[in-house]
Amino acid sequence: MGYPHKSHPKETVVLSKYFGDAEARSLRGWKKRGGYESLEQALAMDPSAVTEAIKASGLRGRGGAGFPTGLKWSFMPKEKKGPHYLCVNADESEPGTFKDREIMRWTPHALLEGAAIAAHAIRAEIGYIYIRGEFTEPWAIMEQALAEANTAKLFGEIRLYLHRGAGAYICGEETAMMNSIEGKRGNPRIKPPFPAAAGVFGRPTTINNVETLAAVPHILKHGAEWHKKLCLSNPKSVGTKLFSVCGHIAKPGNYEVTLGFPLKDLLHDLAGGMRPGRTLKGCIPGGSSVPILNREEAESTLLDYEGCVEKGTMLGSGGVIVFDDSADMVYQIMRLARFYAHESCAQCTQCREGTAWTTKILERILAGQGKTSDLDLLLELSENMTGKTICVLSDSCAAPIVSGIKKFRSEFEAYIAGKKRPVAA
């Protein structure tokens, strides 16, 4: 459901069925709605069988990377030589994305059930649900739901704990999250070692996104085939996805559609289209770290992993940021660069210095002091910031800059030529 709006007929409502339904938060209410049957089923299965079921379903990580979930689980050791850990990534901080918040505050038990199933599949006795510090409401609701579930002893030997973040986007990166859980600065780690070999506290670990785990009980209940049939385009992209539509749009909110759904319909139909008197200028389909699409591209993109790659962008987290003709692309791209500069952990030279430098160049262009050589400089710095660092925050800063200059160059040139009034940033 596009809470706070009612579900649109073109949505495929699975995860969002109970968004807005306060009763679904309670254990009793959730069980009435069919909850925890899948967990019961899973706990009676061999862990490897659970993994196989998820593998067969084609579910891919919904946090942004789109890595096949069952395959990720299968990397965990089958033989137990000590504790295994599950980490649930509820750090949702990617600009434009606000779906995990909804899952947690409306259907907390969906997440708990999915997490418990995952923990069972990877033979983990402990799971940490890492909730960003700013999510005070989801935290309170998850705390309550977890207390209820524990009282009912639903998780067997598995223990799930909430762990509160404290204001760091980078902790959504899986290895940074592990460091944060360990009580350290949220610095991403170099790989190898990979989490399944040595993760949190040095133990085999799997990290999964909230939306990914919320899908797991449905897959066990309805079967892998059911999941695979939820497909509108490429068979490698199946299932439903919550798209968080925001920015210059009439009805911002989360919309759940089957993968392969046309972005054009999501924008102009489901989300109510442009605000009165406005036209679409551009759109970022997958959270601010993926390249910006111009109007033409946006209106011909199919929303799945392959469809987005075909258009030179990525599905990412599914945070759909909409820009209409009133948007100042230079300003917004500067604001995004500033976001990355604030969030850089400071380990890698290119990211630490590059995010700040590119922000300063963009501020200078906005202030009316830009030079024509600045655009080439920005492109070169972006190239130097891409593919050369421990994590992809650096690449993420470069993406809007490169795509922005490519597709909205005239706006940059207008500032540089003095045709636009300078703006203090």
């Binding site: 760091a168 600065r185 170099i190 500069a341 604030h342 969030e343 850089s344 952990c345 400071a346 380990q347 890698c348 030279t349 290119q350 630490r352 210095e353 590059g354 995010t355 700040a356 430098w357 300063k360 200078r364 400089l377 710095l381 130097n384 593919g387 050369k388 660092t389 421990i390």
Partner: protein, 518 residues
């Protein structure tokens, strides 16, 4: 693969290494130095500076050589255009906030940022327009200053304190381009081995207060030596400006001190520059000592020795070289000889992250050497023996007050009060002014090298005493410390088979179970 090694190609040159070797180390073996900052063989790998990016065939992205293990058949190009561009961009990014302090920065001339910018960097910056980040200089502790503006956040210092010193008093504070190295206000950088962060810092961000503005790196003459602060025998480099020792730095020895020295040893060099030296031989004439030349002084010694018999005692400084200790005993071979030395003791301060490495309680470098040559640490009883001895030789030991009814011969660097009733005083070179060896507490014999000339007429002990001993043996005067060591190696059990050539720059151990010579 033969003998378990794998073979890879680096810059078109094949190299065979044990599996698991890091590319950056494998490259060293074919003479390729991959530019880097955060990597250091004595520290855990961090992989943060991103400077060591190289192209590895078949890999979609550039790899960091410090964290990539060599694999059989791997083909690596350190000079591939994309790798050089990437490294050049890292340098450019480092320089946007790094101030142009070279003219006033101690690190100039031995700065890794200068070195790699010269080698691979851009000729000019594209960041001319903005203010650079500014933070004031901080005093971290007893000897260390931190200049945040110059810091490139390689985190070598943090990793040293965390993992090698195992006292995590340094951190990275803040985030992004606001980050800097911090301490907690209630903590100081006063660990006994903290000074190593200054050596580890690739740039002039962490500085030694002791060395601040003392000399330019290119003015320094560097000489391999061994620390005299305690019996650990850390290998060091003495840095001299115009024949004055101005700095001591660690010299790598994987078997002794790896890459580190303690702060006590680091500060232990001022005595090498003492000006109050004996600069001429002295002989007793009537009631006083007067200056003489070497011929006269040595002739007087010969006369004394040939005219005496019975007991003879050598009281030596445990800072004397093995060669000197050997000669100071051999010259009394006609007598019933006792030898002794006094060891000053102090607090032990281990470097927790390195096995068998500590500032040792025995605050002298050659106590073990003395013992192997028959000297006793029980200086009390030796002093007693000295009272009734016919001849007492005092070898550069200024702290032990000797009283004797016999003839006192003093050979040393400074003239202590109690040596003023000596019959003859021979001026000796100090350890920085001669070649020689020490034996550390583990029985490792290590060479040190002459770093500066001896003042006035002072000579090394191997020369001064060597002549006397040569006469006794009917042999020729030794030509070098090396020839004395050769004689020592033949005569003293544990040193069999050793020679200066065999000792090289990192030393060799005496034979296990070495006994004391006849």
């Amino acid at each position: 693969m033969a003998d378990g090694l794998i073979t890879l190609t680096i810059d078109d040159t094949p190299v065979s290494v044990p599996p698991g070797t890091l590319l950056i180390e494998a490259a060293k073996q074919v003479g390729v130095l991959v530019p880097h900052y955060c990597y250091h063989p004595g520290l855990p790998v961090a992989g943060v500076c991103r400077m060591c990016l190289v192209h590895v065939e078949k890999q979609p992205k550039l790899a960091i050589a410090c964290a990539t293990q060599a694999a059989d058949g791997m083909v690596v190009h350190t000079q591939a255009p994309e790798a050089k561009t990437a490294r050049q961009s890292v340098l450019e990014f480092l320089l946007i906030n790094h101030p142009l302090d070279c003219p006033i920065c101690d690190q100039a001339g031995e700065c890794e940022l200068q070195d790699f910018v010269f080698q691979e960097g851009r000729a000019g910056t594209r960041y001319g327009e903005y203010a650079k980040r500014f933070n004031p200089v901080e005093d971290f502790g007893p000897d260390v200053l931190y200049v945040p503006n110059r810091c490139i956040l390689c985190t070598r210092c943090v990793r040293f304190m965390d993992d090698v010193a195992q006292e995590p008093v340094l951190n990275v504070s803040e985030r992004g381009d606001r980050a800097f190295i911090g301490v907690h206000p209630e903590g100081r950088l006063d660990h006994a081995w903290a000074g190593n962060v200054v050596d580890l810092c690739p740039v002039g961000s962490l500085l030694s207060k002791d060395f601040l503005h003392k000399a330019r790196a290119w003015e320094l003459d560097k000489t391999a030596s061994v620390c005299t602060g305690c019996s650990q025998g850390c290998n060091v480099t003495l840095d001299l400006r115009d024949s004055t020792v101005v700095r001591v730095r660690p010299r790598p020895n994987l078997d002794v001190n790896r890459y580190f020295i303690c702060d006590h040893g680091r500060a232990n060099y001022r005595w090498m520059n003492r000006a109050d030296r004996i600069e001429a031989p002295l002989v007793r004439d009537g009631g006083t000592l007067r200056a003489a030349d070497w011929d006269e002084a040595l002739a007087r010694v010969r006369a004394l020795l040939s005219g005496a018999s019975g007991k003879a005692v050598t009281i030596a400084s445990p800072r004397a070289s093995t060669e000197a200790l050997y000669l100071a005993r051999r010259m009394l071979s006609r007598f019933d000889w006792t030898g002794g030395f006094q060891l000053v003791m102090g607090e032990v301060a281990p470097l927790a992250g390195v096995p068998n490495l500590a500032l040792r309680a025995e605050r002298a470098p050659n106590g073990t050497g003395a013992e192997l040559l028959g000297y006793s640490p029980d200086v009390g009883s030796v002093l007693q023996a000295a009272q009734g001895a016919a001849v007492v030789v005092l070898l550069d030991e200024a702290e032990v007050p000797v009283q004797t009814a016999g003839a006192l011969l003093y050979a040393g660097t400074v003239l202590p009060e109690h040596a003023r009733h000596a019959e003859v005083v021979l001026p000796l070179a100090n350890m920085a002014e001669e070649d020689g060896t020490f034996v550390n507490r583990d029985g490792r014999v290590q060479r040190y090298f002459q770093a500066k000339p001896a003042p006035g007429m002072a000579r090394p002990a191997w020369w001064a005493l060597g002549e006397l001993v040569a006469e006794l043996d009917g042999a020729s005067q030794p030509e070098s410390a090396e020839s004395v060591f050769e004689a020592l190696a033949e005569a003293v059990d544990g040193f069999a088979g050793l020679s200066y050539g065999a000792l090289g720059l990192n030393g060799r151990k005496v034979r296990a179970g070495a006994g004391v010579p006849a």
